[in-house]
Amino acid sequence: MASDKHKKASFIAGIVLLLLVLISLKYMKFIWSGSLAEGVSPSPFVSVMLLVPLGLSYYTFTLIGYMVDVYNGIAKVQMNFFKLLTFGMYAPVLVSGPILQYREISGDFFAEHNFDLRQITFGMQRMLWGFFKKLVIAERLGVMVSTVYDDPVTYSGGYVWLGILCFTIQLYSDFSGLMDIVLGISQCLGFKLPENFNTPFFAKTVAEYWRRWHITLGVWFKEYLFYPILRTSLHRNIQNKLKAAYAKKGDEKKAKKRSKQISTYIAMFVLWLIIGLWHGGNMTFVIGSGLLHWFYIVMEEVLEPVFKKLWEKIKVNPDGKVLNALRILRTFILVNIGNAFFRAPSVGAAFKLLGCGLGIGTSGSTAEGLIGSFVTAVSSNGIRAVQEIGPLGLTYTDMVVLAFSILILLIVDIMKTKTDVRKSIAAQPIVIRYIIWLALLFYVILMGQYGPGYDAAAFIYQGF
């Protein structure tokens, strides 16, 4: 009994300590930066307080997960401190994850790894694909996105929607590109890390989207926050009170179902609020990657029976291809709106951006039309016009490269839903394989935006 108490106390102390470090170093930044008057440079003390260790939240989450699993008896304690440190501070994942679960990874992580050329080859291929996404696609999209987000009034209308769409693709190619690099490095070293993406833009619902996007974050929050919330006495009390209130109105069975549903929505609210806060103290994150998605998911669940009845009434197959395609499109649009908040500098700016997209508060776009400006440029400068910068901040050549590269990305993502692309390539004759990988390699070397003259932006998820 005394041992259990001691165990629990140690566990709580460990969790509190880890969270204390995270909160004091990561979130105090907002307090310190908020204390600064505009235009005033911070004092040395404040400058130090503004620093955040790289990957802080990732290894905090990894270690919390480890402690919870050990406490619950589903993971073995690691008695070698340096081994635990190696696991917690595994360098490739520090930048942006994936968040590791000790019980899933440790076996493979600490096992002896022999030289395996196939694994090294596959790992390098995956890294190359990551560089393609980051350097060829994300960096180019970044220019277009900044152009529109910095001046939504000029680019109101279609350009705003294009900018929002571009940011969603940028975020995906940037973050999943980094994951490809991290997983590729790990594969070269001989072990497999959990996937963080699974073609998220083919999700039919927002809930499914979150099972395909930043998967390890979703798993972590579900296991270590959402389920524990559901097990709290507070949650049970709320559920019981709701049940009692509904029971007064009649059907006991319905009351049980409704009270469970609503109490779960409340727990989900807390979950999504914290997911939003995890992305940063800014309200744009709280809405863009938190509460707005909670709203979407709740609405999906609430409206599900309504739509079910509707499909029955109008005799539409609820699992038909067209309906599924429309669901994918709807989910994609909803995610795009959330990302508009995620990228905008403030909530007000996000509303302004969306307003400009709808033509509210603006008298229309004053930016030159893409095709019109290209025709004008060609008529005055001939073929050299392809190297001129178009209205979205990129040269026309870069736009063609971008469109072509996104098409490749789309094709590969579609293929990924049906097969393992790398294994399919590996099954090809050696000449075909060499052509594919050398072509991709030199495509990245030539078309990538890096090196002198470029300011390759940091990975978007690096700061979280």
């Binding site: 190297q387 050398l438 070397i445 890096y450 002198p452 003259g453 470029y454």
Partner: protein
């Protein structure tokens, strides 16, 4: 036993496949590097040098821009039968001289090296502080160990604090990759091996005019030491030339000397002559050159235009004929009798270059005359 054999065989196949892939990668990396390097006269000049048939040049000239603007190599061939080629680049840092000698020795065995000395009187703060001057050399050399040595010696931060992005010197494709749209030009494809004859044999013609008063040159200045970096570069260059066993002429083309230049040239003369080589300062021969500072320079006393270049070339031709035992390739005739295929090919291209020069010169002279008459002088961009 059989299992062991199969294992070994598989390993060999695996290694062979990796090797083939790496070799293909390196080959493509090299080829594409050459192709995406920015087109321009320096690239053409260096490619032209590599394209000259083996051991067919009499002189290799090394130095900065006056090297290729003051002397017309096709004229030198056409009038004196001497094949001289400049491994020269804009504001060429003296430190690069020793590496260019080694580069020249790979394909040529010139009887004479000529070094234009104008940059040796410069200060390292101006030369080493701007990495463009380094890139003019390293980014125009073929991939080789000598190029790596040149980069190691030249890409330093002893003067500049700018981030040198060193890896982009070794693999310049990482700097010029954004130049890929230029691959639509056939010229860029032609540079895939980095060997393409230069129709001007390295010379750069100009019909611009920028007059300046004729400078007064001190006849017997007191020698003054060079900037320590250039002093070291000169000593390294002398050692590199010594290794080749070739003769060397250290020369200065005519220009408007800055204060103190003449004193430094006096010092260079002492050092060079002590090492057993010749020194020629053309600034002491304005009369013999018949140079006219009011019309023979393109940019106010820095570089000669076509007319000035012709005068300098004739002067140099006479000097070389009088002082060195260089063959007259014109004497070989055009029938090709007794010539190797390489010589024949070389002579043909030099004959063509001379004809081109004559045409270009004839076209430039009236333009220069008109500009002098109308005072239509060069304006720096």
């Amino acid at each position: 036993m059989n299992e062991q054999k199969t294992k070994t065989k598989n390993r060999i196949i695996m290694i062979a496949r990796v090797l083939v892939f790496v070799l293909l990668f390196l080959f493509l990396l090299r080829t594409l590097s050459y192709m995406v390097r920015g087109s321009g006269d320096t690239k053409n000049r260096f490619m032209g040098f590599y394209a000259e048939p083996k051991d067919t040049l009499d002189i290799v000239m090394i130095g900065s821009s006056p090297t290729y603007s003051c002397c017309s190599m096709p004229e030198l061939y056409g009038e004196y039968g001497i094949k001289a080629y400049p491994l020269a680049s804009n504001v060429q840092r003296p430190i690069s001289g020793q590496f260019l000698v080694k580069e020249a020795e790979k394909t040529q065995s010139p009887k004479l090296y000529m070094f234009e000395m104008r940059m040796y009187v410069g200060l390292e703060v101006g030369l080493g502080g701007n990495m463009v001057y380094t890139r003019e050399v390293t980014d125009n050399m073929m991939y080789s160990m000598n190029r790596i040595d040149a980069i190691n010696a030249m890409v330093t931060t002893h003067i500049t604090e700018e981030d040198t992005d060193r890896y982009t010197y070794y693999f310049d494709i990482f700097k010029y990759h954004s130049n890929w749209p230029s691959l639509i030009h056939p010229d860029q494809w032609a540079s895939w091996r980095y060997t393409k004859l230069d129709p001007n044999k390295g010379y750069k013609i100009t019909d611009k005019v920028g007059p300046v008063d004729m400078p007064v040159v001190s006849e017997d200045p007191e020698p003054v030491e060079l900037d320590p970096y250039q002093e070291e570069a000169l000593n390294d260059l002398l050692a590199a030339v010594k290794e080749t066993g070739a003769q060397a002429l250290f020369y200065v083309s005519p220009y408007k000397l800055a204060d103190g230049d003449a004193q430094k040239y006096a010092h260079i003369k002492e050092v060079v002559e002590a090492a057993g080589y010749d020194f020629l300062d053309m600034n002491h021969y304005y009369e013999e050159l018949d140079i006219d500072f009011s019309g023979d320079f393109s940019d106010y006393g820095i570089h000669t235009n076509a007319v000035g270049a012709k005068k300098c070339t004739m002067f140099l031709g006479e000097y070389l004929r009088d002082n060195y035992d260089l063959p007259d390739h014109r004497a070989a005739g055009t029938d090709g009798a007794g010539q190797s295929a390489a010589e024949r090919k070389s002579n043909e291209s030099w004959d063509t270059a001379y004809e081109k020069w004559l045409g270009d010169y004839d076209a430039a002279v009236p333009v220069i005359d008109r500009r002098i008459e109308e005072k239509d002088f060069f304006v720096a961009e």
